[in-house]
Symmetry: C2
Subunit: 309 residues, 2 copies
Amino acid sequence: MSSIKVFAPATVANVVCGFDVLGFALHNPGDEVIMRKTNTPGVIIKSIVGDNGRLPLDPERNTVGVSVLNFLKHIESNTGVEIELTKNMPLGSGLGSSSASTVAGVFAVNELFGNPLKREELLPFAMEGERLACGSAHADNVAPSLLGGFVLVRSYAPLDVVKLPTPKDFYCSIVHPHIEVQTKDARQILPKQIFLKDAVTQWGNVAGLVAGLYQSDFDLIGRSLKDVIVEPVRSILIPGFMQVKEAAMQAGAIGGGISGSGPSIFALSKGKDTAEKVTAAMKSVFDKINIGSDSYISEVNAEGPKVIG
Amino acid sequence: MSSIKVFAPATVANVVCGFDVLGFALHNPGDEVIMRKTNTPGVIIKSIVGDNGRLPLDPERNTVGVSVLNFLKHIESNTGVEIELTKNMPLGSGLGSSSASTVAGVFAVNELFGNPLKREELLPFAMEGERLACGSAHADNVAPSLLGGFVLVRSYAPLDVVKLPTPKDFYCSIVHPHIEVQTKDARQILPKQIFLKDAVTQWGNVAGLVAGLYQSDFDLIGRSLKDVIVEPVRSILIPGFMQVKEAAMQAGAIGGGISGSGPSIFALSKGKDTAEKVTAAMKSVFDKINIGSDSYISEVNAEGPKVIG
């Protein structure tokens, strides 16, 4: 094989109660990478489509470039690759945009070189891309993008990532309002300290969510999708957040909240029909307050990245 | 049926990382209730064995009495019961002593009156007993004692209790040192506020523990049995705690910590042989520092209370 085309999914990190430890993958949106072997060492980023010129082509400064370079170094390759990246989601949307690209890159290069590493062994390479993108090697987007489904990042030192089950017929609505929330701001607004009693409420909900996923118990999942710590603070940065969430619930969603650090808002539903109603209801709230938005509907993606050409 | 004998299990609340939300039941120790129908309304506590005279016979002031009285009132019974209670564990040991008695009582009275309530419907009655015993209607001992196995108390308002799976061949060692730790003191020593980053570590571990129980993954359970919030503070009240825990781990335990609010220390192991070695190792630490102790070995009790006569 001398060339390959790979899709990797957008992701919803945090999942309401699971701040910094939970995430899940979508089928739509997602980024695409076309990768070709070259006879010279190193990485050439030939083109990036869909980033409005915001991402650097210099591989040392590009999250995909850095991750693929580290991979090639690790396998001691004396040849290289060239990359065409197509971004199908806005940057800074809270959908794990950089993670989707990075995962597409490391998944593609591993396939292209005959899968020398197991899929979970690619995670540290993708995390290096996150370090470049966000300043720290977070895994709550790259892990679900790479492994698919719901993923728990239990610990970083040592890295301990657990793939959780994905209930059947589980759909996600995403609405991305055209406003900017910097991940850095969304992080700085968080309190350093919280009440122990709130933390207990939160870890009860995290436990309930995990149990609900194992039991495919949508009611339990819904009851557990409560966030008493992060959402009350971060939602201030998203105009209309409470109304959008309320509209989603009224339309039949199981639960929802801020995707990653926002501004995208997600809602989970049982079945595609409900998810479509929920998406429309969410979007109409932003329409009413004159904030433009994109929306996506996707079943939760249990597989992760895939070869598409 | 005019009389019945019931056993209800001791319990380990908190389970290291699951402060105030998790607990599990044991086969040994546990309390026993003999209950007989009487022709007059109300509850007579005829005798209590094993409490060194510390528990009141007045049913209005006794946790079993109050719970059973509330049950009889609820079913609008115009007859009553008399109770003989046998306590097989020390009071204030951190093993859910009052809960075991209360659960034995409500389970017995429900059986005796032909099971008018489902088992989970008995929980609020048992919780009223806890309110009398501890000042607040906690469920993290009564819920696992009543339902058996590992139990998550996700929320109190509304009450939401989730029975989690119990891996096979899962054994618990308990060592109860002869020192006193008041639940009130153990609670007052806790900080009101904690660092968000510690809370994130903790709920990652809670999620990992729940996933480990569903997957019967003893390694994951072990990696998740870490407490960065409560144990570092409460363990100060138990002389030798760190050495006892270390001895348990050296002897092959998967993990362990303070049982409830102490002073009992528990450790979980795969298989009875390992659990026996672990128990001996834990006890020997208390022997060396001249603190008397009792010990118990029990498979995790997946069933809960049972009729034994």
